[in-house]
Structures are given as structure tokens and as C-alpha cells.
Amino acid sequence: MKKIFIFLFMIVSIVNAQELNNKMKQYMQILKNQAQKDNPSFKQFNYERGENIFISEHIGKKGKLISCVSCHSSNLFNNGENIHTTKIIKPLSPLANSTRFTKVKEVKKWLRRNFRDVYNRVGTAQEKGDVITYIINKK
């Protein structure tokens, strides 16, 4: 019986960890509305598209091939390392680092900066929603 409770508790905490707070949900809704405006056939954000955004390499702001993985590593539960400064970056997954994806201002800031660094342009609403969907759900 005790084991079942522990099991249930673990499931609940995993589900909770994945759940975005209200401010973040509002932000995701704004992105979704914009994505629909940009593309009438848009249905919903997509994990696979997000994964591709995250792992694919592009000629970045510095004119060299770079991807999100270059600094964050492909394991979102591990520390990453800033390739320019060698500074450690804490895990990106909210399942490993509960402070991630809790502050809209922070999320906007890093999406703006990192799309420019990796793609040398700003991300579209759909791309932002896709990549967030990938990061918060990746196990």
C-alpha cells in the first residue's frame, strides 16, 4: 500500500513539474494565437518540430555552425557549458531544474537571444512554442 502511495506521489510530482504556471500558460496562448495568425493551417505546438529546432545546426550570429545543443548539451537533465565563456549552464529541463520556464520575462529574453545566436534571426511564434513544448516534455 505504502509503495502505491509513493508511486502515485511520484507520478503526481512529475505531472506537476510539467505543468506550466498561469503566467507561462498565458504566454503559450499568446504564442499560439500568433502562430495561428501567421499560418491559418497551424493546429498546435509540436514536440518533434521543437526537437528539430533544438538539435539542428545553423550558421549562427558568429558565422559558424552552432545549435542549441552546442551549449545546453543534448541531455536536458545535465549541466551544459557556454562554449564561448566555459561557464556552466544549469539543466534546461524543468523536470531537473524547477526554476526553468517559470518567469515569462526570462523565457522571452533567452528565446530572443538564443534564436539570434543560433539562427541569426528572431524565432517565429510557432518555433518558440514548438521548442518550449520539446524542452518541457523531453524525458
Binding site: 550570429k61 564561448h84 565563456t85 561557464k87 538564443n114
Partner: protein
């Protein structure tokens, strides 16, 4: 007699202090929480006293291309950080030895935004082989704390240097 010696000692130490401008070592430590939160998420927390205010203004005016990386901030945050940096910049804290030397080394016609491009810092590091700087554990001259073990306190003294795969540095 003993009192007289103590008096002479006290007077001379006061005199020495005013003569040397009550000089402090290193640079003043970082105190601003916004600066720490925003700037040290990517790199070492360089003390404001490592550059003059003209350099900080130029640097903070170009955060969209910050050494090749987008480090842009919300306008309010950017303004507050710039205020902190210029209020604590090298030319205002020349009582700190490193701030004074960095500031004095920069010619009036130049406004370096990289601390590593200031003449004093270049000169202080010109004996160190490229191999030691480029090695994985250091990677660049900008990575102060890789060798200056007390850099985060604002102290860059020689006795606290420990270069990876080399050890202590003796300037003589």
C-alpha cells in the same frame, strides 16, 4: 620614549596613507544583485572597476552584439546595470591599485570594451604562453578565475595565481 615612538609611527602611517591615497589592492568587489543575476549567467562577474565609465557606456550600448553574442536586456535592466557600472568604474576608484593602473594605461583616444584589450592587462599577461591561455581549462584571457583563484573577491594578486597544468606564477 616609548610613547614618542608610537606617536611617530602613528603620524607617519597617517602621512603614508595620504601620500598613497589610502591605496587598496585589486578592485572593489561586485555588489549589485541585478548585475550579478544578468551578467554572470553567462560569464565571470567582472568588477566595474576593471573598466572606465566610457568603456562601460560603449559596451552596454551594444549588447545585441556582445562579443559576437546577443546579450540584449530589457531597457530598464540595461539602464540600471549601466548606472551601477558607471558609478563604480575604474576612474572613480583609483584608490584601488588595479583600477588605477587600468585606467591610467588607456590612452584618451581609445575606448576598449574588452578588459583584456586594455594596455595594462595586455602588458601584465604578455609573458604567458598562448598554449597556457588557449588550453581547455582556461580558453581565453577573459576567463580571469581560471588562474586568479580569488578573482571573484576583486583580488588579482600574484600569490593567488594558479595556472592549470602549470601552477603558481612568479613574475620575477
Amino acid at each position: 620614549m616609548k610613547n614618542l615612538i608610537i606617536m611617530i609611527f602613528l603620524v607617519s602611517s597617517i602621512f603614508a596613507d595620504s601620500f598613497w591615497g589610502s591605496s587598496k589592492k585589486g578592485v572593489a568587489p561586485v555588489t549589485n544583485n541585478l548585475y550579478i543575476a544578468e551578467c554572470t549567467s553567462c560569464h565571470f562577474g567582472y568588477q566595474a572597476g576593471l573598466l572606465p565609465s566610457s568603456s562601460w557606456k560603449k559596451l552596454m550600448g551594444g549588447l545585441e552584439d556582445h562579443f559576437g553574442t546577443d546579450a540584449s536586456l530589457e531597457p530598464d535592466d540595461s539602464k540600471n546595470i549601466l548606472n551601477y557600472l558607471t558609478n563604480n568604474s575604474a576612474e572613480k576608484f583609483t584608490n584601488y591599485k588595479r583600477s588605477r593602473k587600468i585606467n591610467d594605461s588607456i590612452p584618451s583616444y581609445s575606448t576598449p570594451i574588452a578588459i583584456t584589450k586594455t594596455p595594462y592587462i595586455i602588458k601584465k599577461h604578455d609573458d604567458i604562453s598562448n598554449k597556457l591561455i588557449k588550453q581547455k581549462e582556461v580558453s581565453s584571457l577573459a576567463n580571469c578565475k581560471a588562474c586568479h583563484t580569488t578573482a571573484n573577491t576583486g583580488s588579482y594578486s600574484e600569490r593567488d595565481i594558479d595556472i592549470p597544468n602549470y601552477g603558481r606564477w612568479d613574475d620575477e
